[in-house]
Structure formats: structure tokens, C-alpha cells
């Protein structure tokens, strides 16, 4: 007897193999006809949670510009260091991002960028189908982030923990 094996003290009368096998066979046969649980992925998709954190999205103002004011909070909070931000300033003194890139490969989808954003500009979204043929394709620039149309993540609200 090997070390650490759980010892079942069964009376000899209750030990059976053949009868137990017959019970087992009936169980597997029952499963044969049960409803299947597989989701046929490309045709059917499961619904995402409203708090799903996936592909990023940059929201825009009415006139089609990014809401981002290049404050630099998101690159500072990002634990994976995947946001590249170069701030710029126009004639009126409004700050805007000259370069805003997110490397979706480095991103760990913690959602801190969305939580920290004062302008509610950068969001993680309810979307996960972002395959590419090259690694370069995963670096999303500002234009691409603004072009995303999927719904964004609803962050957890401490006053309403169950989202009701």
C-alpha cells in the first residue's frame, strides 16, 4: 500500500465490481442521450458579462475626436506597461494624444486604464475576437481604437456590488 492513500473501510458485503459496473453503464448510457452542452462557437456565441474586459476602445466626442486629454494617468497605472502615450497641445492649449498605442498582447486586461481615466475616454470592451496574422497587428493605434464599435465594459460599482 502506497503512502498517503485514502483507506476506505468498507465491509466486504458492500464491495462489488460487476454490480457497480452495471450501475456505471446505466449512467453513461443516460449521458449518451442527454442534451449536449457544447456551444457551436462560430455559429453560436455565448453572451458576455456586462463586466467583461476585452479589446480596448477609445470613445469619441460628438465632433469625432478622441476624448483623451493625454493626462498620462493610464500609462502610469498600467501594470503591464502596454500603453504608449505621447502628449501634444494645440493652439488653444488643449492637450491631445499625438501617439496613443495599446499593445493588446502585453495587456493583461485588468481594466485599470478605464477606472483611472478622468475623461472616460479609454475603455476595455465586451469583445474578444481579435486574432491577427502578425504580432504587429496587435498594437492598436489611436485610429483603430476609435474605430472599434463594440459595447464597453461596465465597471464594478462598490455601491451596487451585484450590478442591479
Amino acid at each position: 500500500m502506497a503512502i498517503g492513500v485514502k483507506v476506505m473501510e468498507r465491509p466486504l458485503e458492500d464491495t462489488s465490481y460487476l454490480r457497480a459496473t452495471l450501475t456505471g453503464l446505466s449512467h453513461t448510457l443516460k449521458h449518451l442521450f442527454q442534451e449536449k452542452v457544447t456551444v457551436q462557437y462560430p455559429e453560436e456565441k455565448w453572451s458576455l458579462s456586462p463586466r467583461w474586459r476585452g479589446t480596448h476602445r477609445m470613445l469619441t466626442t460628438e465632433d469625432g475626436k478622441a476624448k483623451c486629454v493625454a493626462c498620462g494617468l493610464c500609462p502610469s497605472i498600467c501594470p503591464a506597461n502596454c500603453i504608449k502615450l505621447v502628449p501634444g497641445e494645440d493652439e488653444q492649449g488643449n492637450r491631445y494624444p499625438l501617439v496613443f498605442e495599446i499593445d493588446e498582447f502585453r495587456c493583461i486586461f485588468c481594466g485599470y486604464c478605464q477606472e483611472v481615466c478622468p475623461e472616460e475616454a479609454i475603455h476595455v470592451g465586451r469583445h474578444y475576437e481579435n486574432s491577427e496574422y502578425s504580432r504587429e497587428g496587435f498594437v492598436y493605434d489611436l485610429e483603430r481604437l476609435m474605430a472599434q464599435t463594440h459595447p464597453v465594459c461596465e465597471m464594478w460599482d462598490p455601491t451596487d456590488p451585484k450590478g442591479e
Partner: protein, 428 residues
């Protein structure tokens, strides 16, 4: 013993040599095609049944799943053949074929349909209707182990070798139980010709099927067949969790595929044997017209279909068991084969032989319903004994069960005797 079927056979003209040769070649080609396609479809069936038993759908993409075997085959043909540097090349190459050929060969003697009284003479529906059919099957199926052992040895890999060793030990052990379990069948048929065994079972409908008249023999044969084909719960030669993939760890591409085909071919052969020996072969249950003359082509086709259905059921049963029982431990496997199956089979031979003798003295020869009925009654008692008396921790030694109190007392007494032995003369 003259049965209607054989009386009819004697009346029909024997085919000429020319017809015999042509018919055999046609049978070979048709049969080989059906067999290979069937084996391919079995891989699909395995995947589908596995999936359904796990509440999944299984392969359903390539041609709605139906072309999956073709896709698998294509993949395996396109893949690179790799050879381990230290492998012994000639045996490494020949082993997959050695695993596959015996399974195929055994099929040659199995009758898969009622004979056909063609315009050119009676044509037997077995590729080679040998009069010693059953002995041929026993001889050929034992060769199957060579493929596995040689594959394990020539791979020069410790896991492969262990798989091969396990396989040889397992096959040798269960071969004996298998042979012994079929003796009651031979006693009942009074012949080793598979055709005779089939026609004997057709005598009084399904009551005279050997599964009714020799149930325990069937159970032993079933268990031994699982072990012989290396299917779960006896797949120790390839035990993934212990030996990676056992004897075929080092194989790739089509050579690996050959082992896969061999496994399914073995399954089909074992199923066919089970159907022939215990489930009336190609006999259609509850009817007598299929065994009587005239033997038209339609009858041949129908009986063939029934035989196919029986095989299919047993193949399904293999898969069913696979997803029900976990793998045996090595010592459990050995003790089951040697300590349980073999003695049970021997006892059962004596039991059936005496029953047959007793019934014949009482005036009920075989092929009467009293004979079959009496044996069926005996078997009901046997099965009940097996399920409720023998099956109490004695069939498979569990991970742990309490020692039998009497055994425990004996062990303690022996230990006490050892410690309190009086000192010997020299010591004094």
C-alpha cells in the same frame, strides 16, 4: 446431427473450381473494402460516442462529421515519418503491419451470411470456410501480440518497452481464459467449424444462442476479448498516464495510424467472434426461414445485415465500457486473469459438460427446447451466484478492503508463532 440447413446444403450442387476461385476473389475484394471502410467509420463512431457520453457533439465540421475519417487519414499520410535514432529500423517498420495483419486474417473464416444457392452452385459466405475455423481464429489472434511487443522493443524507448512487456504478459494471461471460455461453446456445437456453431445456435431460435446456454462463458470471453484487444479497462500497454502512449510512443504518421487501424480491426474481429460464438452468428432471431432452404440472395443479404448489426452493437459496447470503467492496476489485471477467470472457466466447463451429459442421459439431445431451457435455467443460477456471491470484493481487489477476519487471524497466529518459538539446541 442433421439440421435443416445442412440437409439443404447437401442437396445443392458444389461449385466448380472456376466458380469457386472467382467467388473467392470477389468475396475478398468486397470484404476487404467493407472491412476497411468499416474500420475507418469506427474511428468516427468512437469519437462520436465518446463525445455523446461526455455531453458533447463530437466531430461535426468536415462534411457534417462524416468525412472526419478521410481527413484524419489524409493528415496521417501527409505527416512526416520520423525514426528514433536508436530504433532498430527493420523491425520498427514491420511492427505496425504485424499488429494489423492477424486481425484481418482472423476474419477470413468467420461466416458473415447465409450461404447463397447461386445458379453456379452454393457459395459459402466466408472468405475461407475452413472446417477447423475456430482453431484457426485462436491461432491467428495470438499472433497479434507480436506487432505490439516488437514495436515496443524496436523503438528503444523505456516506455515503449514497458508497454510491450505489459502487452505480452496480458495477452498470454487472457489468451488462456479466452480459450477455456470457448470450450463450452465447442461442447454444445460438437464441432470447431464456425458454420456448425452458427447453425447449432439457430436450432431453436434465440433460446439456443450460446449466450443463453453458456452465459458465464460469454462473460469470460467478453472480458478476455477486452484484454486481448487492449481496450479500456485493459489498455495497460498504452496507458497514457503511465507510459505516455506505450508501445506506439515513437511512431508517427501512417505507421501510427496502422496501430490505430489494428486496434479497431481487432475490435471488429473480437465483436464478430462474439457474435458468431455466442449470439447466433448471422442468424436472424425469432425466425426460422433464414436457416431453411432455398437460400436465395436476399436471405444472404438480410442475414449479412443482421450479422453487421450484431457486430456494430458489440463495437458500441466496447466504447460504452471504455467511458464507464477506469483502467485496471497491473496486479488487478493479473489476479483477475489468473485467479478468477481461469478457475471460473474451468469450473464452468465441468458444469456445462456434466449438464450436457445429464440431459443426454435424460433423453434430451441438443437442438431441443428442453435442452436449451434447462441450460438457460442453470445459467440464471450461475449469473445470480456470480453477481451476489462471488462479486463481494473478490473479483477485483480494490484499492483497499478490509482483510477477511479469518485470514487476519491466521496471519496473526503465524506471526505470534514466529516470535515465541523456543530457542534452538545450538543457542542453548
Amino acid at each position: 446431427m442433421t439440421l435443416p440447413f445442412f440437409a439443404a446444403l447437401q442437396g445443392a450442387p458444389p461449385p466448380s473450381t472456376m466458380v469457386f476461385v472467382i467467388a473467392t476473389v470477389v468475396k475478398m475484394i468486397v470484404f476487404f473494402t467493407i472491412y476497411m471502410v468499416g474500420v475507418a467509420m469506427l474511428t468516427l463512431m468512437e469519437r462520436k460516442v465518446s463525445a455523446w457520453m461526455q455531453d458533447r457533439h463530437g466531430p461535426n465540421r468536415v462534411g457534417n462529421g462524416w468525412l472526419q475519417p478521410a481527413a484524419d487519414g489524409l493528415k496521417n499520410i501527409m505527416k512526416e515519418e520520423t525514426y528514433p535514432g536508436a530504433a532498430y529500423r527493420p523491425i520498427f517498420v514491420i511492427a505496425p503491419a504485424l499488429a494489423f495483419i492477424p486481425a484481418m486474417l482472423a476474419w477470413a473464416v468467420i461466416p458473415f451470411g447465409a450461404p447463397w444457392d447461386s445458379p453456379w452452385g452454393t457459395i459459402e459466405m466466408a472468405v475461407a470456410p475452413l472446417p477447423i475455423g475456430f482453431l484457426f481464429v485462436l491461432a491467428i489472434t495470438s499472433i497479434g501480440v507480436y506487432g505490439i511487443v516488437l514495436a515496443g522493443w524496436s523503438s528503444n524507448n523505456k516506455y515503449s518497452l514497458l508497454g510491450g512487456i505489459r502487452s505480452s504478459a496480458q495477452m498470454v494471461s487472457y489468451e488462456i481464459a479466452m480459450g477455456m471460455s470457448t470450450i463450452p461453446v465447442l461442447l454444445l456445437a460438437g464441432n470447431v467449424s464456425l458454420n456448425q456453431i452458427v447453425s447449432q445456435q439457430a436450432a431453436v431460435g434465440p433460446l439456443s444462442w450460446n449466450v443463453i446456454t453458456a452465459t458465464i462463458a460469454w462473460l469470460i470471453f467478453l472480458i478476455a476479448a477486452f484484454a486481448e484487444t487492449n481496450r479500456l479497462p485493459f489498455d495497460l500497454p498504452e496507458a497514457e498516464s503511465e507510459l505516455i502512449a506505450g508501445y506506439h510512443s515513437e511512431y508517427s504518421a501512417m505507421k501510427f495510424s496502422m496501430f490505430f487501424i489494428a486496434e479497431y480491426a481487432n475490435m471488429v474481429t473480437a465483436s464478430a467472434l462474439m457474435a458468431t460464438l455466442f449470439f447466433g452468428g448471422w442468424d436472424i432471431p425469432f425466425t426460422a426461414w433464414d436457416n431453411a432452404a432455398p437460400h436465395t440472395g436476399l436471405k444472404t443479404l438480410l442475414t449479412g445485415l443482421f450479422f453487421f448489426a450484431k457486430i456494430l452493437f458489440f463495437c458500441f459496447f466496447y466504447m460504452w465500457i471504455r467511458w464507464t470503467l477506469p483502467r485496471f492496476r497491473y496486479d488487478q489485471l493479473m489476479s483477475l486473469g489468473w485467479k478468477l477467470l481461469l478457475p471460473t472457466a474451468l469450473t464452468y466447463i465441468v458444469l456445462i459438460a456434466s449438464a450436457i451429459l445429464g440431459l443426454q442421459i435424460a433423453g434430451f439431445g441438443p437442438a431441443t427446447w428442453q435442452f436449451s431451457g434447462a441450460l438457460a435455467g442453470l445459467n440464471v443460477v450461475c449469473v445470480l451466484l456470480l453477481l451476489f456471491v462471488l462479486d463481494r470484493g473478490r473479483i477485483v481487489s480494490p484499492a483497499y478492503s478490509r482483510l477477511d477476519p479469518r485470514h487476519l487471524a491466521r496471519v496473526r497466529a503465524r506471526a505470534a508463532a514466529r516470535t515465541t518459538r523456543p530457542p534452538t539446541v545450538e543457542a542453548r
